[in-house]
């Protein structure tokens, strides 16, 4: 069952008028309040001034005439294709076409053998990347965990190398600095057969957390973002305010501020290089007012992530956002309902590239093998909803009803044979629909145990060799690869 890139948009938390109101309000924020910056991006600020922005250098404040924003945002591509090493995994991000995958930078994993929590390693990154490779409904790999067993200076190249050696799906990750990005581009170019080949089919992309909400440019990440633009490497413009702490408490206020941050970021990118492939990266979140931590599993996160796609769609830029986070510490019922709700809402909203939607627990801190399997099932169900109900003559089945006739049954009609593997979602095997007797015979396993067994089986499969041997040798000669 092929459930990638289906058209969402069935759920629109904002009316068309509300979308316009919010968009106008965002333009007003940029025109009146503006954004601030710190030392180190004088060239970027100068570029903005040369193109119409008003700079107050004493207050380090930038305001943008609406005309400038509208002109620059119009230059951003309406479609961004994120490629896989294998073309069957190419993602066409446009309109309200939905893709869902992993995300995050977790530092803990629930060990699949001991059940205990421990720090994540490079080997864990490799293992979960292999799971993602084999789970059909997880459409892409955003590096889900940090390798805590390697030194910071080895992070970027090793992350990308590990992911690319384990999956042929698209690989995305943030990088620490410009050198990190350039190293990764160099390594990926070796795999692609040259920088031009990589730029033609970028099977890697990056994330730049360019905005520190509210309304402040992060120097380092803005520079990384612009470097990606210049290299024609797709970049997600991440900004992630939390309602109540780094954006207004209200959902509308949070969405409006976030949209303003995105408009400013897109403007910087398009001035840096017109037509640069970028993803609108607004990730609306909520502060837990009891702790000021992140409430990833809240249903309102699902609502706001659907709404933010409406805003990105309004300016015709494909978007990157979040769903499937849970505040639960283990793959339990809470994890199940929080993930199902936010993922269903974000996908029905039509978000183009929904990360965080597989594998994560404890907000963004922990991953677990079994959770990837369970989330693959949740994503599959979400995407099935997007497919909708076909009502053409074949699916209406009037002829079949007539031929079976009153009182008959449909079990063995050719029509049943034709459609039985397509009309309903079949699942990856984790969902139990057996009789109680059969279930007891098989050990009375709960969802988590069944998912662990599936993960174990997938990891026992032969390891892939996505990076050809001679290229692998060259990469290891050039970089300090620790896997």
């Amino acid at each position: 069952m092929y459930l990638m890139g289906l058209q969402g948009g069935q759920y629109s938390p904002l009316s068309e008028d509300q979308v316009k109101t919010l968009h106008e309000a965002s333009l007003q924020i940029l025109e009146k309040t503006g954004i601030t910056y710190e030392l180190g991006i004088e060239d970027t600020v100068q570029m903005l001034e040369n193109n119409g922005a008003v700079i107050d250098r004493d207050r380090k404040n930038i305001t943008f005439p609406r005309k400038m924003i509208i002109e620059q945002v119009a230059k951003a591509p309406e479609e961004v294709i994120l490629y896989g090493q294998d073309p069957k995994n190419d993602l066409h991000l446009t309109q309200s076409r939905v893709h869902m995958g992993t995300g995050g930078a977790a530092i803990k994993i629930i060990d699949s053998e001991t059940g205990r929590i421990r720090p994540t390693t490079l080997k864990d990154l490799y293992d979960v990347s292999r799971l993602v490779d084999q789970l059909d409904n997880i459409h892409f790999l955003v590096k889900p965990c940090i390798a805590t067993d390697i030194d910071v200076e080895n992070y970027n190249v090793n992350w990308f190398y590990t992911c690319l050696s384990a999956t042929s799906k698209h690989v995305m990750s943030g990088v620490n600095d410009i050198k990190g990005l350039n190293d990764v581009i160099e390594m990926a170019s070796m795999i692609a057969g040259g920088l031009d080949k990589l730029q033609e089919r970028p099977f890697i992309s990056t994330i730049a957390c360019f905005a520190i909400s509210p309304l402040k440019l992060c120097t380092q990440s803005t520079l990384i973002m612009q470097e990606a633009n210049r290299n024609h490497i797709p970049v997600a413009l991440s900004s992630a305010p939390m309602a109540g702490s780094t954006s207004p408490l209200t959902m509308a206020g949070t969405l409006t501020q976030l949209h303003a941050e995105q408009l400013a970021g897109i403007t910087i990118c398009q001035l840096t290089k017109a037509g640069a492939p970028i993803l609108y990266g607004g990730i609306p979140g909520m502060a837990n007012l009891k702790t000021m931590g992140y409430s990833g599993g809240a249903v309102e996160c699902g609502m706001m992530n659907a709404a933010i796609h409406q805003l990105s769609n309004h300016i015709k830029v494909p978007n990157y956002n979040s769903s499937g986070l849970s505040d639960s510490k283990l793959p339990d019922a809470q994890a199940g309902y929080e993930k199902a709700l936010t993922s269903l809402l974000a996908s029905m909203g039509g978000s183009n590239y929904i990360h965080h939607s597989a594998g994560m627990l404890e907000s963004m801190l922990t991953i677990a093998h079994e959770q990837f399997v369970i989330d693959d099932e949740i994503i599959g169900n979400c995407c099935k909803v997007l497919k909708g109900i076909d009502c053409d003559a074949e699916h209406l089945a009037l002829d079949v009803i007539d031929s079976v006739g009153p009182g008959g049954n449909f079990m063995t009609t050719p029509h049943t044979m034709t459609h039985m593997r397509e009309e309903y979602y079949n699942g990856n095997g984790v969902t139990d629909r057996k009789s109680r007797e059969k279930w007891e015979q098989e050990g009375s396993l709960d969802t988590r145990q069944r998912a662990l067994a599936i993960a174990k089986k997938l990891l026992a499969n032969p390891k892939p060799a996505y990076i050809p041997e001679e290229i692998d040798k060259a990469i290891r000669k050039k970089f300090n690869i620790l896997l």
Binding site: N176, G244, L289, T291
Partner: protein, 210 residues
């Protein structure tokens, strides 16, 4: 006034008008300023800290309480002796290099100030050598390090290592905190204490300072 329940209560219920009225009233009755501070305001903010730990109060309410308390302290300050205002704990606090997050760290700083400690908040993206310089300059006895990003946690260890190399390790107790930080991590990198929220951070700092 034989007890300070009303002052404590006005602080916990965020009633700034009533609190200021009660503080002035108490001064009028010749109650020592140091008693009003310690038995009224600080005792009240301790209750706020407990309520925060138990999640009975939202953080914005805690912040509001700290702001109201500061107004009360403002009235008392000219009337307090030097020894009463000189804090037992001298805290240097900052977010480690590479990390730009400051909300949680500022919350901790505010709660520590409310608990009567002298707090020097260095801000974000602070290099290890800057922490070392500030410990010397402020003669600090507590160092608090914050990190929100999983990628900047290693910088906490590098900062502690720099303090050890500088020879100042015996002078300061080191506390760490931030969303991804755990007690196990604190033990691993040689910190003296870990706190999971601002209320318990202030409490722990008071104990370490004594």
């Amino acid at each position: 006034m034989t007890d300070f329940n009303e002052i404590k209560d006005s602080l916990v219920s965020l009633d700034d008008q009533r609190l200021l009225h009660l503080v002035n009233d108490a001064l009028g009755k010749k109650i020592p300023a140091s008693d009003i501070l310690n038995k009224g305001l600080i005792a009240g903010i301790d209750i706020v800290g407990e309520k925060m730990e138990n999640e009975d109060m939202f953080i914005p309410e805690v912040l509001m309480a700290a702001q109201i308390m500061a107004k009360g302290v403002e009235i008392l300050k000219p009337l307090l002796g030097d020894d009463e205002t000189s804090a037992r704990g001298r805290v240097v606090i900052g977010t480690v290099k590479g990390d730009l997050h400051d909300i949680g760290k500022n919350l901790v700083a505010m709660m520590m100030e409310s608990a009567g400690l002298a707090v020097h908040n260095l801000g974000v993206d602070i290099a290890p050598e800057e922490f070392v310089a500030q410990i010397k300059e402020k003669n600090a006895n507590i160092l608090c390090l914050s990190a929100l990003l999983t990628t900047t946690m290693p910088m906490m260890k590098q900062t502690i290592d720099a303090v050890v190399e500088s020879g100042l390790r015996d002078q300061v107790k080191i506390m760490i905190g931030g969303a991804p930080v755990t007690q196990v991590f604190a033990d691993d990198i040689g910190a003296d204490a870990f706190a999971s929220d601002a209320g318990s951070a202030a409490k722990a700092a008071k104990i370490l300072a004594n």
